[in-house]
Subunit: 301 residues, 2 copies
Amino acid sequence: METIEIVKSEIRNPQSAIRNSNLPIGIFDSGVGGLTVYRALHERLPHEHFVYLGDTARVPYGTKSLSTVERYAIENAKFLEGHGIKLLVVACNTASALALPAIRAAVRITVVGVIDPGARAAVEIAGARKIGVIATEATVQSGAYASAIARINPTIEVIERACPLFVPLAEEGWADTEVARAVAAEYLQDFTKEDIGALVLGCTHYPILRDLIGDVIGRSAPLIDSGEAAAGEVEALLESSGLSSAQAERGTERQLCDDLDHFYVTDAAERFAKVAERFLGAAPSVLEAVEVWGHDELRTH
Amino acid sequence: METIEIVKSEIRNPQSAIRNSNLPIGIFDSGVGGLTVYRALHERLPHEHFVYLGDTARVPYGTKSLSTVERYAIENAKFLEGHGIKLLVVACNTASALALPAIRAAVRITVVGVIDPGARAAVEIAGARKIGVIATEATVQSGAYASAIARINPTIEVIERACPLFVPLAEEGWADTEVARAVAAEYLQDFTKEDIGALVLGCTHYPILRDLIGDVIGRSAPLIDSGEAAAGEVEALLESSGLSSAQAERGTERQLCDDLDHFYVTDAAERFAKVAERFLGAAPSVLEAVEVWGHDELRTH
């Protein structure tokens, strides 16, 4: 990591940039968990560059209400739109579940959430069998995954469970401990008793616990990483709209967290860098703390 | 619980009220954890009534930075001061550790934090032995407990450890499970190896896990609940300043969560009520969702 500095972000002109293929892809998350989505996007699209915003001043979203999550999500989306991006990925499952219509109404760029891609991937793999979903309290209460799955195939039964302890387990770096195994056994017991055709990892932190969750669930139920599924959809969208980076033709592939990818957080940049190192094996080269609230009045100071 | 309604709080005139013994005691916390401090205050001062603010829209504070915690704490303190209170208790250990000077500069009433009372109680019990402190990441990093203990007795050695999983364990209602025991054994191993004279529960959630923590630590190290210690100081302060409620003379004792105690949250009132039931065995009779930010411009709408 080269710099951690507190700056007010510049606002670039979004209008002129909407269809510019050389712009970065914007990603926002409630905090550090969305780095698993960044990693999935980077792996799928190694020629693209990214702008990531983690709303670490207001994390987590998973225990908050619809109106609050909507407000935070819109502020994040507008911040990234103002930064100049060609497409916005809402990495946070809770924000995708609760606030996607509000975000789409608030910005002019294409917005991709993680719920629909995750639901589609799960239905594809599960066939006629039940689908399990693990997520935050707010995502489970929203019923967003169940609705998305029902829109594709209304006969599929969906079993959902909130797993709040998975987030601190992942952030503590305890994925590979007996404690984590005991927590997973408790949370996942409803799924191990059932004939589950797929289990959706419906929170950005859960892929960090992927091996553990897979062990506890057993081989019969494949795990669906909604972030990976969303990365596939982003690739298809860029290709179909002619927005893929010209770098792809030149074959330039980039390193995770190199200095073309810009990371913004709304608070506690050092903690973000530490957890990023744990999640990605690399800390961001460019990481800045910004304010995203009151964005309409945001000025460079 | 009789009502959960979304209202903008009225602002009453703080100046005229500063020395009115019949006013409530204000308590704020980052969320639901401060209910353990409310319970301790209620037990110690059954004639007083309370106004509690849980900043559930921005919880937790324990992973956030100094400047952010200061900003949130000042907004909460001003909200409660505007409500008309005779004394403010900062129940949140993180806010007490990071923001007490900023809060005291921002309001005109007496402000009691939980760090100094907890430190004093620990020194009293530990004698010359080491003192253990468990708390949030931010509280541990601030070194507030170590500094407070050093001000009383600079020769005492302090060992601190952040225990982030304790909060969701308490909120899940998992205090009495094997999972919680395994987490506690991991977090507390540094303390069980040492000759600890007292262990400070430096986060409002931890008293919910008191029996478990006591079992793992063993009988040699008494547990110090900073909220209980703060309640003792509040009692002494009220008496010495003539601010004790006149109800005390009439011998009227009140029930926990009855309709004289008003609870405000900044988000997700239903979740707050559910966890309150788990923590206190009773949900608030009067619970309202409010906005506390931009308080200087706060108006009734």
